[in-house]
């Protein structure tokens, strides 16, 4: 019932969007190679779907995304746990992180090429960079703001150092890390396009850049639609995971 209404909503709003878009094209009198009409884009979408191009690119992108995202998350969580428990060390690392974080991964690209070459690696590195900082910061913050009651309970029950991390700290902060992980999915997916601009010959980002180079804006828009949909899908998957976890952890968030 609820999902049915959501579906109707999505359909209605999509139809509305297409109508507005078509209207802009008609009223503005745009050349199809400058602003393609919905129909041309529809054709492009269909073509990409049918001739298998999409799947190849999608697969490559998802693999790169997974590689960058998961390696970033794991590194960031492990480092975050340590740095969160070692405030003195964090005092030194924090300024560096804070200065590096606001720099666009694009700005780094000369150095990324220097160290990581071209093709898969730079795309993965850029996704890594985009995911790393949100997860690191949310982990450190979570560790530092953790409810001290849990730590007190652990002390009181004389729980050892190893169990302290695995049974108390990690699970206690997991919901907060999850939030960081959620944000990271968004930011790193956004940087997919940038990542696949550095010498990659495949992937959704490359597909868009390539179509743009060929002045096929219909394919650019088709690519944008796929990127948007996949981003949405990834977001929803993470959100479901988060919900499930919140339930386990007894956190109740209204929809």
């Amino acid at each position: 019932m609820k999902s049915f209404r959501t579906l109707t909503n999505v359909l209605v709003s999509m139809v509305l969007l297409i109508v507005i878009w078509q209207a802009i094209v008609l009223i503005g009198g745009y050349n199809d190679s400058l602003l393609p009409a919905p129909l041309s884009v529809g054709k492009a979408v269909l073509k990409l779907l049918l001739d298998g191009t999409l799947w190849t690119h999608l697969q490559v992108s998802l693999l790169r995304f997974a590689a960058g995202y998961f390696s970033a998350s794991i590194t960031a969580i492990v480092l975050g746990l340590l740095l969160g428990r070692l405030p003195v060390l964090w005092g030194f690392v924090d300024p560096i992180v804070q200065v590096i974080r606001p720099v666009s991964p694009i700005a780094w690209s000369p150095f990324i090429v220097l160290w990581f070459g071209i093709g898969n690696a730079p795309a993965i590195v850029i996704i890594f960079l985009a995911a790393f900082f949100p997860v690191l910061l949310s982990t450190v913050t979570a560790v530092r703001k953790m409810d001290v009651t849990y730590l007190k309970v652990a002390q009181n029950l004389e729980i050892g150092r190893y169990h302290l991390f695995s049974k108390i700290i990690l699970p206690a902060i997991f919901p907060f890390i999850a939030n960081g992980l959620h944000i990271a999915v968004g930011t790193s997916w956004i940087f997919l396009v940038s990542g696949e601009m550095v010498g990659a010959q495949s992937g959704l980002g490359f597909m868009i850049v390539d179509a743009r180079n060929q002045l096929r804006l219909d394919f650019v828009l088709a690519g944008i639609i796929f990127i948007g949909l996949c981003g949405l899908l990834l977001d929803r998957i993470i959100r479901l995971l988060e919900r499930w976890m919140d339930k386990q952890w007894g956190i109740i968030r209204e929809s």
Binding site: S109, L114, W115, G117, G199, V209, N213, L215
Partner: protein, 303 residues
Amino acid sequence: GKTEGDSGHSSADSDLKTIKIGYLPITHAAPLYIEEELGKQHFKHFKLELVKFGSWPDLMDALNTGRIDGASVLVELAMKAKEQGIDLKAVALGHKDGNVIVASNDIHQVADLKGKKFAIPHKFSTHHVLFYEMLKKAGLQYSDVDVVELAPAEMPAALAEGRISGYVVAEPFGAKSVVIKKGKALFQSEEIWKDSVDCALVMRGEILNNHKEASREFITEYLKAGEKAELKDEEAKQILRKYMNIEKDVLDLSLQWISYGDLKLTEEAYEQLRQYMIEMGLSNNPPSFQDFVDNSFIDQVKG
């Protein structure tokens, strides 16, 4: 958001037509720098505004949507846009020759590139054609080498770190690797393809039609600037370095390879290019010489 330029302006108007020309900071656009630098004071029928871009796609977006009136751009990109229905005309060349195939120091002949990575700046570029022709002449298949598109600025670093084994691109990015001794010039472009067509000065059709006086003067001055550039004297180098901020030795080397003397795009050279584009599958129906090339201005000047 209109695609037309402000065609209402008459060239005789007191507020002069501003011609906006896009470029990338490369040696190949030298005539533009010199024209602006030397002519700025005494243009009669127009004002010149040079707009620097960071990459070819950005420049083409602006050109296609009429945000700039013309550009010194890879001619293939302009042809592609023409094919897509954008009204563009090539009125002169940017330069002649001056592209080199750079290879890392362990590459001694074309055959050594087999199975290696090789970078080009853009699928629709003379550099791509040069690369294709080089392989053909050496008897290699296109698929023998792994071609990647890469931003020109990343190429020297990629070559130095062995991420690619060679590249072909506009100057001064080739000279850079040679100067820092991370690579060498394997071929000059004329060794592969004589009279290769590379960057061209491309104008939007409505500018040429609606601002005839301005266009004529602009192109005339452009050709003069080309002659000045061809001198490659200290003054010219000074101006180039002002626009490109590169080391002196890199500039000197890249100037050795290039010429700005005769900037007319001939029909033979253009037909050769068309053939390559069809052959390489870059375009099914590249615009014809008559449609795309407008030599009327250059012919007027040359008399």
